[in-house]
Amino acid sequence: MKKRDIKTGKLTTWCPGCFNYNILAGVIDVLEPMINKEELGLVTGIGCHAKIYDYLNIDGLNTLHGRTLPACLGLKIGNPNMKVIGFSGDGDSYSEGISHVIHAARYNADINLVVHDNQVFALTTGQPTSTTEPGFVDKTNPEGSKLTPTNPIKMMLGLNTSFVARAFAEREQVAYVLKEAMKHKGFSFVEIIQPCVIFHNDKGYLERVYKLEDKGHDRTNKRMAMKRAEEFDYSFNSKSKIPVGVFYQEERETFEDKYKILRDFKRKKISWKDIKR
């Protein structure tokens, strides 16, 4: 079989200086060694993050807004041997598709969700999302956004997610966290904090970011994970730090392993398409 190049070679249409280029580089670092060895499945939602679908030469679906996770689950149930990675954004996962995020934590299928959180609806020209800080002004909120942001890391820990991590949109960090997520057996939630160079510029992320692994954080300690998660409340009110790295990890039975037929598929390296009836 012809070896597959991980890049499609399509012209990129992110803005000059967009942090999505860093994310793409980190993702390629992790997936390139796998592309001709593993069955990979790629899903993206709608938003600036989703353009990554056109640049990564991996089979899958650029799906509807908010529906990255159902498609990922469908791929995993369709072929439990597939390594499934879904990309999404703060609008995609925390607003339009929030119900799926909550249930994905409960199902614990072995899939990976990477949320590009630039704290703004960028592709629709800059409206506040559920993680935007209060006071954010745009054409739809001339008096400034009035709401308190969601803290997705706290939310995911509260939902008993089996893997919770955050990275800043910087190549090595993205690669490190994604690699850890892909190794994890179960649902991995990864949030990537990134500025939007047009609609939500750098609020001093870099001075605030520190690595959890440098502080000796124990990723099996849920209470400590929660404490670390509370350090950054997405509002930029105080000089609070932004911890990045793996907050929490716990191995437990996956969705697909609860079904005998899907366990058999994994053992025999087959899927439904091979079942002749």
Binding site: T8, K10, G41, V43, I46, K51, Y53, D54, I58, D59, G60, L61, N62, T63, L64, R67, L69, P70, A71, C72, L73, G74, L75, I77, G78, N79, M82, S99, H100, I102, H103, Y259, I261, L262, S271, W272, K273, I275, R277
Partner: protein
């Protein structure tokens, strides 16, 4: 001979259990039974009832003038006292419910052992047997059925939709519970172990259809089921199935709307959302079976078409078909289909054949054209199936037209009338050929809705204006006698 028995009581009292047992015995003894179920959106209390119509000839509907009334509570008598035939036998003792089964067995002239056999399948055998014996001893034989050797099955539409899907090679069925689609989920859940497929419940209908499309991409034969409200939630993804060219079979079980409507009753108000739901222009097929055997057949046709052409196919049913029991020969013709879907790059955006996004006007136009042309091919291929069926007097100037579960009552009501009956199965693509059957005739459309979307569809496709409509929209199906009266009034 044709007689009707009503079993009524509060939810939880079990009129449904008695009615089903008696029906099974009657069918086993060679009778034809049509059994429908009316219940309310509550779990205990209220007024539930079953109508059992039995005959020595084929029947597909109920009469609502009763010859026997089994009243497990007083309300049953209050509600139905205006619907009794002369000489109707009313049984309303304060007894265990198998007492009524026993008594009815005697009235119908059936051997007690047949009931005993059925009771063994239930719990509390000793107690039930005692009650049943008491009833049997107190009963008097009134009816005498000419019994024949049974060659027929007794099943609901839901059962046959499930069996049809399994025979078509179903791999994955996804659903979120909603009446009246849930019985298919329950049937499939009960069959999954034996037949090596999975029936999975997810968090909502949006997840259901999007997950199903994810699985379908990997080559798995996938199907979803829901009712109108859930279908509305699914339509964005239905549209994605169209543009991304991922095959999917969707079961839409109608109940009266709008919104939450009448949750546990029947209706045909969703023809237009089945035909038009979802934004943008994309091909789809909509088929509405008239009975369980047709349902089994069209499920397999939908798997064949959707796998071959990679687009959504909709099976349009309703509560009446879903939950009523029909006595019919098990002779469904299953259409075989391959697993023809490859895992590749799919896209909800307009895209090039390699799955990458495009906005280039030339490419957009080319891709739209390809999908529209595909529909022309589908239209041709669909003609291999019976898109409509013709019954009754071929040369009559009166032509009744209907779709879906109204078929049974129409067949029963028109047996002795001077009319032809056209039952349309394929509503998209529409069998435009029926124009020649309708031209210059007295066309009468029968539908279980208030605005008659079929009449509009006929006008659109054949330029024939439908003036005679018989419409019922109170949540109940058509019953034989009332429909016959309505039709007679409109005959020429």
């Amino acid at each position: 001979m044709r007689l009707s028995i009503l079993f009524g009581g509060r939810a939880g009292q079990g009129p449904n259990v008695i009615a089903t047992i008696i029906s099974k015995i009657l069918v086993e003894r060679g009778c034809y039974v049509f059994l429908s179920r009316e219940y309310e959106s509550l779990i205990r209390g209220g007024h539930n009832y079953n109508i059992l119509t039995v005959s020595d000839k084929e029947i597909y509907s109920n009469d609502i003038k009763y010859d026997v009334l089994i009243a497990l509570d007083d309300k049953t008598i209050t509600v139905h006292k205006g619907e009794l035939n002369k000489g109707c036998i009313i049984i309303s003792e304060k007894k265990g419910n198998m007492y009524f089964a026993g008594r009815l067995m005697k009235i119908l002239g059936l051997e007690f052992d047949l009931l005993k056999k059925e009771l063994k399948e239930l719990g509390n055998f000793e107690g039930n047997l005692e009650d049943a014996k008491e009833g049997y001893l107190q009963g008097e034989k009134v009816y005498d059925f000419k019994l024949r050797k049974n060659k027929d099955g007794f099943f609901t539409g839901s059962r046959k939709i499930a069996e049809g899907a399994v025979k078509s090679g179903l791999d994955l069925y996804y659903a979120y519970p909603m009446t009246p689609a849930t019985p298919v989920l329950s049937e499939l859940a009960g069959m999954q172990e034996e037949h090596n497929f999975l029936a999975i419940e997810l968090e909502n209908e949006i997840s259901v259809i999007n997950t199903a499309l994810g699985s379908a991409m990997t080559g798995a034969k996938s199907m979803v089921g829901t009712s109108g409200g859930g279908y509305d939630l699914m339509t964005e993804a239905l549209s994605m199935s169209g543009i991304s060219e991922i095959p999917l079979v969707v079961y839409l079980a109608q109940r009266p709307g709008p919104a939450s409507g009448v949750a546990t009753k029947t209706g045909q108000g969703d023809l237009n959302i089945a035909r038009y739901g979802g934004h943008g222009e994309f091909p789809r097929v909509v088929v509405a079976p008239g009975d369980p055997i047709e349902a089994e057949e069209v499920v397999s046709q939908l798997f064949y078409l959707t796998q071959k052409y990679k687009f959504p196919g909709i099976l349009l049913g309703d509560k009446h078909l879903s939950e009523s029991f029909y006595t019919m020969k098990e002779n469904a013709k299953i259409t075989k289909s391959g697993k023809l879907t490859k895992f590749k790059r799919y896209n909800s955006y307009e895209h090039l054949p390699d799955g990458t996004y495009t906005e280039d006007p030339k490419e957009v136009e080319r891709m739209v054209k390809l999908r529209i042309e595909k529909f022309t091919t589908i239209k041709k291929d669909v003609e291999r199936f019976q898109m409509y069926k013709v019954y009754g007097k071929q040369n009559s100037k009166n032509v009744i037209v209907s779709w879906g579960s109204t078929k049974g009552a129409i067949l029963d009501a028109t047996k002795e009338l001077n009319c032809k009956f056209i039952h349309i199965l394929y509503l998209e693509p529409f069998p435009e050929k029926i124009k020649k059957e309708l031209k210059g005739k007295n066309v009468i459309v029968v539908e279980n809705n208030a605005t008659s979307p079929l009449s509009s569809l006929i006008s659109e496709k054949t330029q024939i204006l439908v003036k005679n409509k018989i419409l019922k929209y109170n949540g109940q199906p058509f019953y034989k006698e009332e429909l016959m009266k309505e039709i007679k009034r409109k005959l020429k």
